[in-house]
């Protein structure tokens, strides 16, 4: 990617995320955009987001890939790892070589190593005193993430957080609970829709999600809306699977 091309994509990413401040949006889409920007624009090989569940604990809300093993690695950090440390302290956690931290995170380190990851950063999703979750960036090479990349990642995370917390809200706590519950609820429907697509197209969850995402983008619809239509039978799985395979064919040409 050229410097000018990258700059353009960065600007588009920031503008896209800040759109949430003015338009109708869904937290599920916002977080998915955020993790995808991070792996496309930064030196990160995988990205994931955990949000504080209003019922208690942390819950995976977005992952740059839907591979079960990767999602499990993110979810494991609800108990132990850089993400939960980051949420508790409200400060970034930077790990240049995970093998140095076996004592600190005895379960997380081997699980991350098994997936081929060597370095990890966790950045807070935070507005002033309110920490609503953390973003995880994994790399398959050890060493520090370039300072400039970290700044961009934190900037993207900040814009997304402001969108979720809605700066204009009078009663931010109530808005936050509603937003986080809404996001969790969207995620449940998205997971059900992935199951429907996987069973209909005999494909795995990763491909099912790609099909869902592609259909949502092509039709300018929110992920949760496409998912709801699928679970209500208003949209046929075949339609969603056809759009996505048509697009894959075009990309291969």
């Amino acid at each position: 990617m050229t410097a000018a091309g990258r700059e353009q994509r960065l600007v588009r990413a920031f503008v896209g995320l800040s759109d949430t401040l003015v338009s109708d949006y869904d937290v599920a889409d916002l977080l998915q955009d955020l993790v995808e920007h991070c792996v496309h624009l930064l030196r990160a090989d995988a990205a994931g987001i955990l949000l504080a569940d209003p019922r208690g604990g942390l819950q995976v809300m977005a992952s740059s890939s839907e591979h079960t093993r990767l999602v499990e690695l993110f979810q494991q950090q609800a108990n132990e790892g850089p993400c939960v440390d980051c949420v508790n302290s409200g400060e970034p956690v930077s790990v240049t070589d995970i093998t140095d931290h076996t004592g600190r995170w005895p379960r997380f380190v081997p699980a991350a190593a098994e997936q081929g990851f060597k370095a990890v950063d966790a950045l807070p999703l935070r507005l002033r005193a309110e920490v609503i979750g953390a973003m995880n960036l994994f790399r398959t090479h050890s060493g520090a993430m370039p300072e400039a990349d970290l700044h961009v990642a934190q900037g993207l995370a900040d814009v997304a957080t402001i969108g979720i917390l809605s700066e204009r809200a009078v009663d931010r706590r109530s808005v936050l609970v509603a937003q986080l519950e809404g996001a969790l609820s969207s995620r449940v429907v998205i997971e059900q829709a992935k199951g429907i697509l996987a069973a209909s197209g005999a494909t795995d969850m990763d491909h099912a999600f790609t099909a869902l995402r592609t259909h949502a983008r092509n039709t300018g619809t929110r992920l949760a809306e496409v998912a709801t239509d699928l679970t209500n039978g208003q949209l046929s799985p075949a339609t969603v699977l056809a759009t996505s395979s048509a697009r894959a064919a075009i990309q291969q040409d």
């Binding site: 569940d53 209003p54 019922r55 208690g56 604990g57 819950q59 995976v60 079960t68 999602v71 009078v170 009663d171 706590r173 109530s174 609970v177 509603a178 937003q179 519950e181 809404g182 969790l184 609820s185 969207s186 995620r187 449940v188 429907v189 997971e191 059900q192 829709a193 992935k194 199951g195 429907i196 697509l197 996987a198 069973a199 209909s200 969850m205 998912a227 709801t228 679970t231 209500n232 039978g233 799985p237």
Partner: protein, 244 residues
């Protein structure tokens, strides 16, 4: 934080009230759920499949009046919670947004000792089951623990009501199947979606009920059965519970 384990035990006991008559059990379970919610009173209103609403339980006359007002006017936090699938927490009815959002309701409630309303949607995936509503006589927000408890209590109440509706309630202790009020492992929802297709186009409620029935009959954990379905190691047939 309230006592979730105590609530589960009370819900399971209420489930068996009235010799298995679904109507009596629904009301008894809803009453237990309403009593557990934080605030000065609470009501549980169920949405039936034909979009009819029925208030199953109200802990006092004030909250009963709020329910009647909301559903006859067609506006209020409960209806917003239903349509947006989000909790609607209104710590002070007399200021700002509530007046603008529900002008007629705010007016109607002016004569009642109601200053704050909290509506929690009862949902399973994309399907709305109903709404649990609580109120406070004095303005003020629910604290973090109260919100967490209310959300988890609502989830457990929802599962119990569905259990009665599906009528495969077994005689044994089903406490584990009610879970801990969290949304749990995403694979459970993926497996529900897969079952919707594999069982021949059933609704998410039926697919989930089937998943739970299988789990119960085979004494596995919900997470393990879900993982087996997602991995293709277990396929449930449309007619009975035997795996192929």
């Amino acid at each position: 934080m309230g006592d979730l384990e105590g609530l589960k035990a009370a819900l399971l006991a209420a489930m068996r009230i009235d010799g298995g008559s679904p109507g009596g059990a629904l009301s008894a379970v809803a009453a237990v759920g309403a009593e557990a919610l934080p605030g000065d009173g609470a009501a549980v209103t169920l949405m039936s499949t034909d979009a009819q609403r029925q208030t199953l339980a109200a802990t006092n006359d004030v909250v009963a009046a709020i329910e009647v007002a909301q559903y006859s006017l067609g506006e209020g936090p409960s209806l917003d919670a239903l349509t947006t699938a989000r909790p609607v927490l209104v710590p002070d009815l007399t200021h700002g947004r509530p007046q603008a959002a529900w002008p007629v309701l705010a007016n109607q409630l002016a004569g009642l000792p109601v200053a704050a309303l909290f509506a929690f949607p009862m949902r399973l995936g994309a399907t709305s089951v109903g709404v649990a509503l609580s109120y406070r006589a004095t303005a003020g927000r629910l604290d973090r623990d109260e919100v967490a408890f209310a959300l988890r209590a609502t989830q457990i109440l929802t599962l119990t009501l569905l259990e009665i509706r599906e009528q495969h309630a077994g005689p044994n202790d089903e406490g584990d199947l009610l879970g801990d009020g969290r949304l749990g492992d995403w694979q459970v929802h993926q497996a529900t979606g897969m079952l919707m297709v594999q069982l021949g186009g059933v609704t998410s409620l039926n697919a989930f009920a089937r998943l739970r029935a299988y789990t119960f009959a085979h004494e596995h954990s919900l997470e393990q059965v879900a993982a087996d379905i997602v991995a293709g190691r277990l396929i449930l047939e449309p007619d009975d519970g035997t795996p192929t």
